[in-house]
């Protein structure tokens, strides 16, 4: 009897069932807990106050005034991005499209931010 057979012989039929159910549970738990939730709303803030809350279902362009000038936010196909911003380093523009709930782009110099939310808030490095 080689070691492979030895291992097989020590697992009974019901054990295979338990193992299978265990794998299924782990996969389901992982998918549930690790998959970013699809976002359905964007919260646009200016100077810390909510400037506008828009659904992601409708394509639109929003102009948000800040201390440095106007930031332009685009919403397209359930995604959102800051298209243009007067901030010197352009971090929020280069962040590109936001798609998952909990994602956020912040233009600190112009005090403008876009945060995506789903039905439930997800944790990221900012609010973890």
């Amino acid at each position: 009897m080689n070691s492979y057979e030895a291992i097989r012989s020590s697992i009974k039929a019901g054990d295979w069932l338990t193992l299978l159910l265990g794998i299924l549970c782990v996969v389901l738990i992982t998918l549930k807990l690790w998959n970013g939730e699809q976002a359905d709303r964007a919260i646009i803030r200016s100077a810390g106050k909510i400037f506008k809350e828009v659904p992601l279902s409708r394509d639109t362009q929003i102009e948000v005034p800040g201390p440095l000038g106007i930031s332009i936010i685009n919403i397209e196909k359930g995604k959102a991005r800051i298209t243009s911003d007067p901030s010197p380093r352009q971090y929020c523009v280069r962040q590109g499209w936001l798609q998952q709930a909990g994602e956020i782009a912040i233009c600190l110099p112009n005090q403008v931010s876009v945060e995506l939310t789903g039905s439930q808030k997800k944790y990221d490095s900012l609010n973890y």
């Binding site: 291992i7 020590s10 009974k12 019901g14 054990d15 338990t18 265990g22 944790y123």
Partner: protein, 179 residues
Amino acid sequence: MTASTIKLTATPEDHHIAKMAAVALGLTVLENAIPSPLPGVKPGLANIVTLIVLARYGWRMAAWVSLLRVVAGSLLFGNFLAPGFFLSLSGAVFSLAALAISMHLPQRGFGAVTHSILAAFAHIAGQMMVVYLWLIPHSGIAYLIPIFATAALVFGTVNGIIAARFIDNVAQPNTEPHA
């Protein structure tokens, strides 16, 4: 001055429990030498002993061995009554509860592997509950559950297979002449 002596009478069963707990303790010490990628992810080799004791002598003795191992282990590592001790204890208690239920599954189809997997899941469930209710009351820890659940499944299966090999060897000593 006369010295008063306290005499405890230990039954052969007590001796056996102590021996088994000592073996489990040895495995715990061995396991602590293995580096872990994440605190809390460890093979739980001592549970192999618990499973063998459960199969051979029943649940009561398995509970003794498991709980003695937790208390003695914490004294050995110096974390008695520290958070780590309560995590071990909650894991052991939940595992034993799971074993108390799973041992009533039909023995023909369900062996040590099933008991081991169920106990491993109960172990992390208990620990996560204590962590959440007492140590880190933040839903962010849910993010770690898939890692712990995967580890529980893998190590539970491996420990179960090892335990089943030992249990089988005693049941049919002639099938494994070289073992």
